[in-house]
């Protein structure tokens, strides 16, 4: 080794001179000597680096950590895929239930929307009286629409709709009563309001009968409430599972890089610096799991959609299974990523401070 190499441009004329030249005769003093004004406050770093440099270094470390942790993950593809699958299944399960349930809700709503009340009038009610009644009911605040169907119209509809037109032609007289179809102006989830409307309508002397399958509406409503809570509870439990899986994975990653953490801490890394790559690792596990979950759901609903459509056709329904849309899939990935980040944060907070240089 050449020892007499011309000295490097290390122009650093003992900058500490001012601060540390403390006389020995002031021993009882407990405090550190006050720093001279011209002494740099914080090593070579802050005197030579502008805020702009610091910000650039900070964002560079962010992108470095993000890319490096992603590459690390892709470096062990099988292991990462398994973790992603575990997370994906835990996410896809409640998401699938949520989708199915919102489909059911959709059916329920379309049925409830069509839940008009059929008011059958007494035989002696004249067309004028019926029109009068219809007019009065249409004014009610809880009625969206009231339509008068005369017995003649009802018969025509019956002939067209039932396919029994021939049979109806043989009837001596029209057996059908006049009907007023009342469409309630209330949300589907208010069965009590429907009941009170029904009671108001039946009170009129011209009314023979009022038909509304209230029990059915109530049951559906209650079923939806139960299902909703079940899905929320399940999602909560599985989210906890995702947190634990990611937490454990991050803990192992921290153990694997123990030496590096010790060295980096010794050369002056801040906690945030040490934490960063692990937080990104958690984020990628979450995002990867979310993407796999979205793919699972898309494939699953695509697979189901044809038989469901055929089934709906058999019921003369135009119902079609709605899978996750693009926005919802993105939301799923976002939520998964956030859960991953949270899991990593918990693991890092628990394990990283235990690793100190010894």
């Amino acid at each position: 080794m050449k020892s007499n190499r011309p000295s490097k441009p290390e122009r650093r004329p003992n900058r500490m001179g001012g601060a540390s030249a403390t006389p020995r005769n002031d021993r009882p003093r407990r405090e550190a000597p006050p720093r001279a004004e011209n002494v740099r406050p914080q090593g070579a770093v802050s005197s030579q680096m502008s805020w702009r440099d610091k910000f650039e270094a900070w964002s560079a470390h962010h992108s470095n950590s993000a890319i490096e942790s992603l590459l690390r993950m892709l470096g062990t593809p099988l292991q990462s895929l398994m973790t992603w699958l575990v997370i994906a299944i835990a996410i896809a399960l409640p998401a699938a239930l949520f989708v199915v349930f919102s489909n059911v809700q959709q059916i329920g709503q379309s049925w409830q929307d069509s839940s008009q009340i059929s008011v059958f009038l007494k035989k002696e009610a004249t067309a004028n009286q019926a029109q009068d009644l219809r007019g009065r009911w249409a004014q009610r605040p809880d009625v969206a629409q009231a339509v008068y169907v005369s017995p003649e119209q009802a018969l025509e509809e019956f002939k067209l709709g039932s396919g029994l037109g021939e049979l109806a032609n043989h009837l001596d007289e029209n057996p059908l009563p006049a009907v007023i179809l009342v469409k309630p102006k209330i949300g589907g989830n208010a069965p009590d309001a429907l009941t009170s409307l029904q009671q108001a309508l039946v009170a009129d002397p011209l009314v023979a009968d009022v038909r509304l399958d209230m029990l059915w509406v109530k049951r559906l409503h209650q079923f939806i409430t139960v299902a909703e809570r079940f899905v929320v509870a399940l999602a909560g439990l599985l989210a906890l599972g995702v947190l634990l899986v990611i937490g454990n994975t991050i803990r192992m990653a921290i153990e694997n890089r123990r030496d590096e953490i010790v060295v980096v801490k010794l050369v002056g890394a801040t906690d945030a610096y040490v934490r960063r790559p692990f937080l990104y690792t958690g984020l990628w596990y979450g995002v990867g799991g979310g993407i796999v979950a979205a793919i699972l759901l898309a494939v699953g609903f695509w697979w189901l959609s044809t038989p469901v459509a055929q089934l709906a056709d058999l019921y003369q329904s135009s119902f079609r299974l709605q899978g996750l849309g693009l926005i919802e899939s993105l939301q799923l990935v976002l939520i998964a990523g956030f859960t991953g980040l949270l899991g990593a944060w918990i693991a890092v907070a628990r394990h990283l401070y235990l690793i100190q240089p010894r």
Partner: protein
């Protein structure tokens, strides 16, 4: 630069590593710390680095009263101290360049600045041609020099070395000592722990001698 005021360190096991140690080191000094293994050399170094807290007494480093340093300041404080370990603590999953660049990356230096400084430090320890190698492929002396380059790359005001010549033959250890002397000549305070008495005699510098945790010698040897 460094001041110990009646510092004692007793571990939880009851083992007393340091007992009422008093000394002061001026900025720009170069000195040695000696004693048998277990005499407290490493403990003393750890106290300076704030890897340990003293049980009694006060440690001042670079104007900081260490007991009163907030935890958030610790990283910035350590950036000002270069450390060379006996087992050199290199990371074998990256190149020599990346190992030396670590303190600068941690401190957030811009990319070009890191390149310049790392090459200057590697040039100083004569390993510029090895920057792309993995430290695993280097000899013991070369690994130690990489460790030194990493310790000085941030231009610390204080350089600590714990048995830096521990496993090296005399010729190599002389080279290492020459390096430390050069750093000292440009103003860095250098403190080297060693049990190599021959080395101490050759260097003819101030020596702190520890025996069973007590400071028994302070001055030039013989």
């Amino acid at each position: 630069m460094i001041r110990f005021e009646t510092v004692s360190k007793r571990y939880d096991t009851g083992y007393e590593a340091l007992a009422r140690v008093d000394f002061e080191v001026e900025a720009g000094e170069m000195l040695f710390l000696t004693g048998h293994s277990g005499a407290g050399k490493s403990t003393l170094m750890k106290l300076i680095l704030l890897m340990e807290q003293p049980s009694n007494g006060h440690v001042f480093v670079d104007g900081h009263h260490l007991a009163r340093m907030p935890k958030s300041q610790l990283p910035y404080f350590r950036r000002n101290i270069g450390v060379v370990f006996q087992n050199h603590q290199l990371l074998f999953d990256r190149t020599v360049y990346d190992n030396v660049a670590l303190p600068l990356q941690v401190a957030g230096y811009p990319h070009q600045e890191i390149g310049k400084r790392v090459r200057a430090a590697l040039d100083k320890v004569d390993l510029l041609d090895k920057e792309r190698s993995n430290p695993m492929t280097l000899s013991g002396g070369e690994q130690q020099r990489v460790g030194i380059a990493r310790a000085v790359v941030n231009k610390p005001t204080l350089l600590l070395a714990d048995e830096p010549t521990g496993n090296l033959d005399p010729e190599l250890s002389n080279e290492i000592m020459t390096l430390f002397r050069q750093f000292n000549e440009v103003g860095t305070t250098v403190m080297i722990a060693t049990h190599d008495v021959e080395l101490l005699k050759r260097m003819n510098k101030r020596v702190l001698g520890l025996v069973q945790g007590k400071l028994v010698h302070d001055g030039v040897l013989w």
